[in-house]
């Protein structure tokens, strides 16, 4: 056996359906206009391991091939007759190859040999054979736009007749474990800036000067000399500082001093940190009010990976929402899956660690997937981003066994450069692990530092700094990572058991910044750490020490373990096949001390590292956007308008996406995204019970309204907050703190995603206006938390959501997402949105105003308008309190919040649950008809009440409820205004239009289940 490399090819037996091949042919025709002819797919495995011929053949036929489906070819890379061209999709060196790892597992079982699965011996690939003789350029387009991403895949294309070229990665370039010195002394300002740019430090001049001054200081010099370090910083030290000081990790703009000017009123003020002023202080005030009223459920906010609130005497609810925008822009699948898995690690590694994940949510903002214009260099098509992100969420959630219980998708052309990918995860943690408070992070000098989970490669280097700068066409390939949900699942199972056995002192995840960030932050608790980098297990050789320290290779946790518990912990890791490595220990000497083979690599003063970043001073100027109400021609029949709205991109059904997420694994989901007999009635918020022993649960909602920000950022933010609150009220939740000691927790995460808001006369001339919008968004947030007494528990800000290429900049609109969770005392009392029974009485709760500004109705006419919906917090709170009381008395049969498309769209959606209709008469309120039908005024619901409860309901709600009509057996929605019928349509036709809207059409599920396929009104 001179050659230890073998190739195994699996092809489908004749007659077996080749779904993969067929999809490629269809997608090439549909999206690229290329005729491929028949496409046949094959799986390839390259085995770099000594095997006898018999072993190879046994492995291929018994382990890899399905005897019913596959034919096997060994060591020959040929095509069947009738195929002219090929595309081979392999992975670049070091890219996660779960399929190869699984094959190694199978090989080890077959041979009954221990085979180190952490070293890659088997490489999986896909081979596509195409009937038509397409030119190489066309093959490359199919390869790059449909089959792979050239940042992570190696793609070979060509003619079969010329031989199929194979590719197997040979990782490791042979670089040595060397540490370089970077000279700072004597560098001019321009040179400092240049150095920062070249190395993707993402530090500005002032920050670079602070770094230079730290190293030049006599006390630093003396310390370094004593410790055997050079006078100038090492590459590792600068990387650590850059990562720790990155916008991503340090939130420099949310902590900045802001000079705010309102150009309209002339008012000037100084904001001393957005975070402190509007988020932290606001939550402190809410907490004070809660505690004064005997509601002491707020346990941990802002100071850990996720926020924690108390469910009951036994357990905590842990909640975290994050964004993963930049990686999703350049590799949508990898960006989204690492987003989900990374966000999962936050609740998993809160406090001691080992929480049990309960659910995921996700909110996505994309460009128009139907866009058919030219793309900028490096820009991916919005459809491709949508499909990749969707697949990443599918694999990240489904393969981890965490249900994706709700979400939202917002389309706007301004997300075509950078999409927004928000990932949320809720978890449950016992109050105590082995007698210790679970939410505490305690570390003492001498505790060991353990790296758990995946190995380290070059993937993800510079993720933290990269996400802190605007994206352009030169985005580094190493910033991309592929997640391995299975590796993380093993680590997760391990953490849950280790924490319950009392083996962990605490833990944190390795996300942005890798070990540098996780160890650096934990070392802040004990006062220092020593890390021995040569112990860190690598995926392949050739990494430099600094790369090992800042690599963001996924699925890793950093554990803090008392020396006496090491033996038991290591044994458990071995049993559960989770790699654990002791990489150092915590100290209390005030230094982060990093070594390689005993040689110093970095030694940084902890105080300088965490507190030394210069504070930014930023300028903000508010000018009210010029806006006017448009003239929309009046009509007497709004049936067609309703149809257009139901089929519009931002309102239509997302069923084809929702159904590819497992929303009920664990068996605890009570209100799912789509409900009713049809399974097609959209719901406002998810409801999940905590366990099988009690009926306690949690309601989950999302508020996001970027369109309104074009009119007024304050009202956009206030409206988004209200939207999330009212969604929870709609499903039967209750506001907090209404009664002393009621224990109804609310836990909210704020996630700001804004364009670069730092003024620069050349590169960002409207930066002051953008920053003013952010200030106003934060003001609304403070006002909303105070009004509802709802606390923020964690959050994130993403400050550079711009994409620049070919001299064009695409910036996202300032966007904020409020992700809310609230305790449901009894999930059986949840209320769903769909109409339940004929003759139930339909009510509009709350008040409609002339607020069509930013509405979907105006968007339909290409208009923005001026009258942005405004929240009246006091009136909203009073209504939500009444709705809660009505639910206490079981008076409400269905409840749907009014949002995009207003009353008309809500009415239609409420008929989607089963074959019913509604007969509605609009009141003579004096408001124009389109306003009554389509205004998106906040704090409103559409509710139904059983005939026998009408008196009690009207007595309770009083003037806040307007009787509109009844639910009818006849499946027809009829809306009258005075004597005129203004909407009249079959419910199933409305549902069909909604269901067959652009999202479901685009993702290829035509003819979704429906009683009617007619989409004409």
């Amino acid at each position: 056996m001179s050659d230890t490399t073998h190739t195994i090819q699996l092809t489908l037996k004749p007659g077996q359906h080749d779904g993969d091949g067929q999809r490629v042919a269809e997608a090439a025709a549909r999206h690229l206009g290329l005729a491929t002819g028949r496409v046949r797919s094959a799986a390839l495995y390259t085995v770099r391991y000594p095997l006898s011929e018999t072993q190879l053949s046994d492995f291929a036929s018994r382990c890899l091939a399905d005897p019913v489906l596959h034919d096997v070819r060994l060591n020959e890379l040929t095509a069947a007759d009738g195929f002219a061209t090929y595309i081979l999709v392999a992975r670049r060196p070091g890219v996660t190859d779960d399929e190869g790892t699984s094959a190694q597992n199978a090989l080890a079982d077959l041979l009954n040999e221990p085979l180190d699965t952490h070293t890659q011996h088997i490489f999986s690939k896909r081979l596509y054979l195409l009937e038509n003789d397409l030119p190489a350029d066309d093959l490359r387009r199919i390869a790059e736009e449909l089959l792979g991403n050239k940042l992570i895949n190696w793609l070979e294309v060509g003619r079969v007749a010329e031989g199929i070229r194979d590719y197997t990665p040979r990782p490791g370039g042979g670089a040595e474990a060397i540490t370089e010195i970077v000279t700072l002394t004597g560098r001019s300002d321009a040179e400092l800036v240049q150095l920062s740019k070249e190395n993707i430090y993402a530090l500005n001049l002032e920050e670079m000067r602070a770094v230079r001054d730290y190293f030049a200081a006599p006390e630093t010099q003396a310390e370094r000399q004593a410790a055997g370090l050079p006078a100038d910083p090492t590459d590792c030290e600068l990387e650590i500082i850059a990562q720790t000081w990155s916008e991503h990790c340090k939130h420099k703009e949310f902590s900045a001093l802001i000079n705010y000017k309102d150009l309209e009123t002339g008012e000037k003020k100084q904001v001393d940190s957005l975070f402190k002023t509007y988020i932290k202080d606001a939550t402190s005030e809410v907490d004070r009010q809660l505690r004064a009223n005997g509601n002491d459920w707020l346990v941990k906010v802002f100071s850990d990976n996720a926020g924690a609130v108390r469910i009951n005497a036994d357990s905590l609810f842990v909640w975290k929402v994050e964004t993963h925008n930049s990686p999703s822009a350049i590799d949508p699948y990898g960006g989204a899956i690492t987003g989900i898995l990374g966000n999962n690690r936050d609740p998993l590694a809160t406090g001691i660690g080992g929480a049990q994940l309960l659910f995921n949510t996700n909110v996505l903002c994309f460009g128009n997937p139907q866009y058919d214009g030219p793309l900028l260099t490096g820009q991916l098509h919005p459809r491709r981003i949508l499909e990749g992100v969707r697949k990443g969420i599918e694999d990240g959630g489904n393969k981890s066994g965490v249900p994706t219980v709700n979400g939202a998708i917002v389309f706007d052309d301004r997300y075509a450069g950078k999409p927004l990918v928000y990932c949320g995860t809720g978890a449950v943690m016992p109050m105590q692990f082995a007698g210790k408070d679970s939410w505490e992070k305690i570390i003492d000098s001498g505790d060991r530092i353990i790296m758990a989970g995946g190995r380290v490669g070059k993937d993800g280097i510079h993720g933290a700094t990269f996400s802190s700068i605007e994206l352009d066409e030169t985005a580094p390939a190493t910033a991309v990572q592929i997640g391995s949900p299975i590796t993380q699942k093993l680590a997760m199972d391990f953490l849950m058991l280790a924490s319950r056995r009392g083996l962990l002192k605490c833990s944190t995840d390795n996300g942005a910044g890798g070990l540098s960030s996780s160890v650096g932050e934990l070392a802040g608790i004990s006062g220092g750490a020593v890390v021995e980098l040569e112990r860190v297990p690598l995926k392949y050789p050739g990494l430099r020490p600094w790369e090992i320290f800042v690599s963001e290779s996924q699925e890793r946790f950093t554990l803090v373990v008392e020396p006496g518990k090491m033996t038991e912990l290591l044994a458990l890791g071995q049993e559960m096949e989770v790699e654990l490595t002791d990489i150092g220990h915590f100290t209390a000497d005030g230094f982060l001390d990093v070594r390689f083979d005993g040689e110093p690599v970095a030694r940084l003063n902890m105080e300088f590292l965490h507190e030394g970043v210069p504070r930014k001073v930023l300028e903000a100027e508010w000018t009210k956007p010029a806006a006017a109400e448009p003239e929309i021609p009046a009509t007497t029949d709004y049936t067609a308008t309703l149809g257009q709205l139901l089929g519009s991109l931002n309102i239509c059904s997302r069923e084809s996406i929702i159904r590819q997420y497992d929303h009920e694994v664990k068996g605890r989901t009570i209100v799912k995204p789509l409900m009713g007999a049809t399974g097609q009635a959209p719901q406002d918020a998810a409801v999940v019970r905590f366990n099988f022993e009690s009926w306690e649960g949690v309601a989950v909602s999302n508020g996001i309204l970027p369109r309104y920000g074009d009119l007024d950022a304050y009202h956009m933010s206030a409206g988004a907050f209200d939207e999330a609150v009212r969604q929870i009220i709609a499903v039967g939740g209750k506001l907090p703190n209404l009664t002393p000691g009621d224990g109804i927790f609310w836990s909210v995460n704020d996630n700001f995603c804004v364009p670069d808001s730092v003024y620069d006369p050349v590169s960002n001339p409207d930066g002051k206006q953008k920053l003013a919008k952010l200030v106003r968004m934060c003001e609304a947030l403070r006002d909303a938390t105070a009004a509802y007494c709802i606390p923020l528990t964690s959050g994130k800000d993403s400050m550079k959501n711009d994409f620049k290429a070919d001299g064009v900049k695409i910036s996202v609109p300032p966007t904020v997402l409020y992700s809310m969770t609230a305790k449901m005392e009894d999930v059986r009392r949840a209320v769903t949105s769909d109409f339940k029974q004929a003759d139930d009485v339909v009510y509009l709760l709350g008040e409609t105003h002339d607020e069509l500004g930013g509405s979907e109705f105006y968007a339909l006419h290409g208009q923005l308008g001026a009258n942005v919906p405004k929240v009246d917090f006091e009136k909203a709170k009073a209504l939500y309190t009444l709705v809660g009381q009505a639910n206490d008395q079981h008076l409400i049969q269905s409840c749907h919040d009014l949002s995009d498309g207003g009353l008309a769209v809500a009415l239609a959606e409420c008929t989607f649950g089963y074959n019913c209709g509604a007969s509605i008469a609009l009141p003579e309120s004096g408001l124009p008809l389109p306003v009554q039908l389509f205004s998106e005024s906040h704090s409103r619901f559409l509710a139904t009440v059983a005939p026998e409860d009408v008196v009690a309901f009207e007595q309770l709600l009083g003037s806040r409820a307007t009787r509109l009509g009844i639910v009818t057996k006849e499946a027809r929605l009829v809306v009258r205004h005075g004597s005129r019928e203004v909407i009249s349509a079959d419910s199933d036709v409305l549902r069909s239009i909604w269901t067959n809207g652009p999202v479901n059409q685009l993702l290829g599920v035509s003819n979704m289940a429906n009683t009617s396929n007619s989409t004409s009104l």
Binding site: L497, G679, G795
Partner: protein, 325 residues
């Protein structure tokens, strides 16, 4: 870590130490040291390596009156737990080993080839012995895929070699949706006794049953091993998407072996333990407020627990008592 520090909350509430009351209780440890409940039906539920439906599986057995034990696969492979101490062996859903080589393939491979002792014995040898002793094996979703890839289902020839397969849905996509199933009246398995139709969610990407030839199909049908089929809105068997969500041969959602002791299905009865799991629960409860709060999926677990308990009391209570001590 997130934004900034915040004064830690006070802890004025009472700590409860009683483990049985801990709501989030996670049973992923073999309860090796604890005495088993005398007389209770013992269910062994495997987990680890990407299996993820073990908790609801255990809840189902608990609600059905049995005593479930969740065990990491390695504890069985390494001989710390013996399957022979249990009455039922259960393979839950999930993505074992990521399903990267095809659903259930790597796990099946491990059971067939990984030697658990010096004498070359494999876990599959133990499972064969377990079935020969009259005990029961249940696989759901990924667990069903494992049983099929192993050849334990349908096992027409009795040789435990793969005879059929489960592969990618005809739609080419993973889907979560609710379906209606009918029990084949010819089926002899105690798991399905007394059940006519059943609503359950499917949550899979590789659930399309492929039967390689007509002879095998004919034998499956003749013996009634295709125990569950997908129904359309009119209650007829159907190959039409989405009622048949994956395009399975014979509209088949589940299989048994000829003895009826080994049963596997793609849909998830363990995800319908409560009436409130159903997508239309709110309207149904409005119409029928007095209806049971149990989900339809629970009946399968009640059936097998009752069958085992009944067999014990009628067959050899004395012998059973002896082996328990």
């Amino acid at each position: 870590m997130a934004q900034d520090s915040f004064p830690p909350a006070q802890k004025p509430f009472e700590m409860v130490q009683d483990a049985t009351r801990v709501a989030h209780k996670v049973q992923i440890e073999a309860q090796g040291g604890e005495p088993k409940r005398v007389g209770a039906v013992q269910a062994l539920i495997l987990t680890g390596f990407g299996i993820n439906c073990e908790e609801e599986f255990a809840a189902a057995y608990r609600m059905a009156g049995a005593e479930p034990t969740i065990v990491h696969l390695n504890q069985v492979l390494h001989g710390q737990v013996s399957i022979h101490d249990f009455d039922t062996l259960n393979f839950p859903g999930g993505f074992s080993f990521g399903d990267d080589l095809g659903s259930g393939v790597v796990l099946a491979n491990k059971l067939r080839y990984r030697q658990t002792g010096a004498n070359g014995r494999t876990l599959l040898d133990d499972i064969k012995q377990f079935i020969a002793a009259g005990k029961f094996v249940l696989g759901i979703c990924n667990g069903f895929q494992v049983l099929v890839k192993l050849g334990l289902l349908p096992n027409l020839g009795g040789e435990v070699t793969p005879e059929v397969t489960l592969t990618h849905n005809a739609s080419g996509r993973y889907e979560d949706r609710w379906v209606t199933l009918r029990v084949n009246p010819k089926s002899n398995t105690p798991f399905l006794k007394g059940i006519d139709t059943l609503e359950v969610p499917v949550r899979h990407g590789e659930g399309r049953l492929v039967i390689p030839d007509a002879a095998i199909q004919q034998r499956i049908e003749a013996a009634g091993l295709n125990c569950l089929s997908y129904l359309d809105a009119n209650g007829d068997g159907t190959g039409v998407y989405p009622f048949n969500p994956n395009g399975a041969a014979l509209n088949c959602a589940g299989l048994t072996d000829p003895t009826g002791q080994v049963f596997g299905l793609m849909p998830h009865p363990e995800a319908f333990l409560s009436a409130y799991n159903h997508p239309d629960w709110a309207r149904r409860r409005r119409q029928n407020p007095g209806a049971t709060e149990e989900g339809e999926g629970l009946q399968i677990f009640k059936n097998i627990v009752e069958h085992i308990a009944h067999t014990r009391t009628t067959a050899a209570p004395a012998a059973e008592f002896a082996t328990r001590n």
